[in-house]
Symmetry: C2
Subunit: 225 residues, 2 copies
DNA sequence: CCTCCCTAAAATGTTGGACAATTAATCGCA
DNA sequence: TGCGATTAATTGTCCAACATTTTAGGGAGG
């Protein structure tokens, strides 16, 4: 797509559409010109424009509705999920890799959190954590588990980090689900989360790193076989 | 793409192609049947199959070569990179945000690097760093600058992190380019890189964090206006 | 017998046109 | 005013034709 001295007409159109979006300052919810208009603007055919649209749809940038046209969307997470489901064989290595990434990021959130974390966010996380105990199945539990960590990351206030974490959601959650089915009780997870929250309340950096390290490490143990 | 009670013909074909790949156990390098064959197999038209291929290409799963046909590839990194560059509009906020993300990750690489870093990797980074001084224009300089940091991240040996960094490439590099046009000389950048390398050679954690912090902070200064 | 060039064929790349399907908007009627 | 039918705009799908690229093979010349 990006190589080759002469780009294909479709890729050209993709680029021109992106230019159009930037130029006109279009955002989520705005509609693009119709396929025939774009074909005329870019001096290509409607089929070519359609193929270009397919690329945008695959990236979760646009979706098309009949009669209305193509509207810009913000479905990158879904796109990333699909990409992952296409791409990655969720292997043992991938699990370990993801967990390593989480160690790198989540364990170092403290400095950001110390400034930005509000009491409200803390209580919200406590609520989510408590709900884990009452969840009916492992599926639901891992969803709440992810939500807990997502809130933590969100509270750090860095959009790039949040988006990255959101993209990894399907993988991380699957990792969590695998953990839930093997570890004996949810109580352990909830207690570890509780320790993390306690450390945050006290603004205790050492304790935060310690508990986060143990928590993330625990998620890795059962994979080793 | 994934919603709607009745899926579109194109999405149907995408699903069927995926099924075909799984069923036949096709892997990277294998070629898919030709467009007309697939159209016949799935009882649809060639254009529909082509649009389906566009989706696969966007996901980095396949690329097509004339006369040969569509071959399965493993270009997910590029796909993720493109997706990300689509997703993020480059704004001042985004700049600051990305730099914050880099602080979070790159400053905390030390523990991983301390174990895995080889002399060979270090000398390679030194070479790239030296090349920055002799680059003919700012474009090339920021490319090398990015390459320096990419090597650093790569050396940490975490695939998820590497992929994430790769995804952010267009944004980071643009940030670097903006910096190059404003800061007086490239010497400063190269010197800062040199300090980082020196700290790594000595396995001096404090020095590494210190110099990395200064380096990343410097990149942010000129944006503040 | 080997090498090089030329040609042909097979596949994708692009275009134009036609019709179906969907749905927002409009018009007309009560 | 409100509601239902009609209309029109736009995407969805398919077909057919031609252009382009590239592999493969064959033929001429050494």
């Amino acid at each position: 797509m990006q190589l080759s001295n002469r780009a294909s007409a479709v890729d050209d159109v993709v680029r021109q559409i992106r230019g159009l979006i930037r130029e006109r300052g279009l955002g989520v919810g705005d509609v693009l010109p119709s396929e025939v208009e774009l074909a005329a603007m870019f001096d290509s055919s409607r089929n070519t424009v359609r193929e270009a649209f397919r690329t945008l749809k695959a990236y979760g940038v646009a979706e098309s509705r009949q009669k209305v046209g193509a509207v810009l969307t913000d479905q990158h997470q879904n796109a990333m999920r699909d990409l992952f489901s296409f791409a990655m064989e969720i292997s043992v290595d991938a699990f370990r890799d993801i967990q390593g990434y989480r160690r790198l990021t989540e364990m170092n959130l403290f400095d950001l959190l110390a400034d930005l974390l509000t009491d409200q966010a803390l209580t919200e996380m406590e609520a989510v954590n408590a709900a884990i105990l009452t969840s009916e199945d492992a599926e639901r539990a891992s969803e709440l588990d992810f939500e807990f960590h997502r809130l933590l990351v969100e509270a750090a206030g860095n959009r790039t980090l949040s988006e990255t974490y959101g993209m990894l959601k399907p993988v991380i959650q699957r990792l969590m689900l695998a953990g839930k089915s093997q570890r004996l009780t949810l109580e352990t997870v909830v207690a570890e989360h509780g320790d993390i929250l306690e450390a945050l309340r006290c603004r205790d950096r050492i304790a935060f790193v310690y508990h986060m390290d143990r928590h993330l490490g625990a998620g890795l143990e059962f994979i080793v076989e």
